[in-house]
Symmetry: C2
Subunit: 252 residues, 2 copies
């Protein structure tokens, strides 16, 4: 349990390139990366980036690219490695779920019945990690009392929805591409502004399911962005849109 004492946060190596400083963080078993423009002031807004399933955040262009969009407008970006992802070991349970997912894909069976409960389990493990990491980071004087946002698609939404429902420091959240059944109760408890993206021709997530999740958010300000195309075809301009949305709510 003291594994997740925020005071145990360690800021490891940092490298600076093109005016952006990338820093590796460790808190117990949790590994994470923080990006910021060089000489970012205390209080600079932070966006938590939730990666997708199976992604090794350190090497994955999607997370690096999203961090870059955020540092380009002067924000900090923080990505945490979910258990079983990136450098973090898989448990036997993780291995079993991943094998079941691959088997379903090979058999052209629906993946929802595997992904939904598996990602709900990852969320139960990861939400306390995110909260401890955030608390530890905000206690660092050079970070300061910063406005916080969340941005995650797919697994990043499966973890982000319960996280944003529980963590009062998060002021705005960009989500997308997930089923509703395991998230709908937490979504109802979210009241901060939300931008939610779904794909109209998603081969995994039925339209009605994505619409039901959007409908469930308790937020007074909530936007849904639908685009034509399959699950993996979310247009690149939606990333720019999420960044504008977060900027609007995190900067004064």
């Amino acid at each position: 349990m003291n594994q997740l004492d925020p005071g145990a946060l360690r800021l490891l190596s940092h490298t600076t390139s093109d005016g952006v400083t990338t820093r590796e963080l460790v808190l117990g078993e949790v590994t994470a990366t923080l990006w910021a423009t060089e000489h970012a002031a205390p209080g600079t807004p932070i966006v938590l980036i939730g990666h997708g399933g199976g992604v090794q955040h350190r090497h994955h262009r999607a997370v690096e690219g999203r961090a870059r969009l955020l540092t380009d407008i002067g924000l900090r970006a923080l990505a945490l490695d979910v258990s079983g992802h990136g450098p973090r070991p898989r448990t036997p349970q993780d291995e079993e779920q991943v094998a079941a997912l691959h088997a379903a894909r090979r058999a052209h069976e629906p993946i929802g019945p595997i992904v939904e409960p598996y990602n709900a389990d990852l969320a139960r493990r990861t939400v306390p990690e995110w909260r401890a990491l955030l608390a530890g980071l905000l206690a660092v004087p050079e970070i300061g009392d910063a406005p916080v946002g969340y941005w995650g698609i797919a697994l990043g939404t499966a973890i982000g929805v319960p996280l944003v429902a529980e963590e009062p420091l998060i002021r705005a959240a960009a989500f997308g591409l997930f089923w509703s059944s395991t998230l709908i109760e937490a979504a109802r408890r979210i009241t901060v502004p939300v931008e939610f993206a779904l794909q109209w021709d998603d081969e995994h997530i039925p339209r009605e399911d994505g619409l039901a999740l959007y409908d469930a958010f308790g937020s007074e300000e909530k936007s849904l962005h639908v685009n034509a195309g399959k699950h993996m075809e979310l247009p690149r301009f939606e990333a720019a849109s999420a960044v504008r949305f977060l900027e609007r709510h995190l900067t004064v």
Copy 2:
């Protein structure tokens, strides 16, 4: 019929203020306004602005404001007065429809059964006017062979959908806030990129109806933006989004 000979287009008075030139146009009975930055080059993209029902475009802040968003990024904006709107006289039929609409509002009855057929009638009258006005304008040497987009909400969508379906010069269109039944056939024939906005808590247009219209567009690239709120509560940031969408498709 020769009322709509594009060669009959007359460019009347123009005024320049804050670097933006506003010019009044007349083609037969059709009145219109063209906005452009001073010294705009031939070939500068033009966005056709379709006003909402009952709006006097010359005085209405919404149309002026949208024109300003477009000239701010160097585009031209063109708004046409729909028959019975602005300086154009109402026919007895117009008067009857408007009276029926007001009566339905007073009685708290659904307005769709009146607005849908009335606006379909306005569209039948206005589409040929838009096409003649556009042909006339593109023949003016200082305008040149410009890329053309369309932007209209509510009545602007009721007219815009059949217009964009018929007019091959229009390359992209931003629509929103209308029922589906009178538009669905034309929407299926549209193949250019579309951005469509609807309000999740619209007291006049059922959700399913807005979603059905989005679903009908034949375009490979189509985006739907849904926001929480009633019919008149479309957020201001959707105007900025429509402008970015049009800019992306009209400028190279």
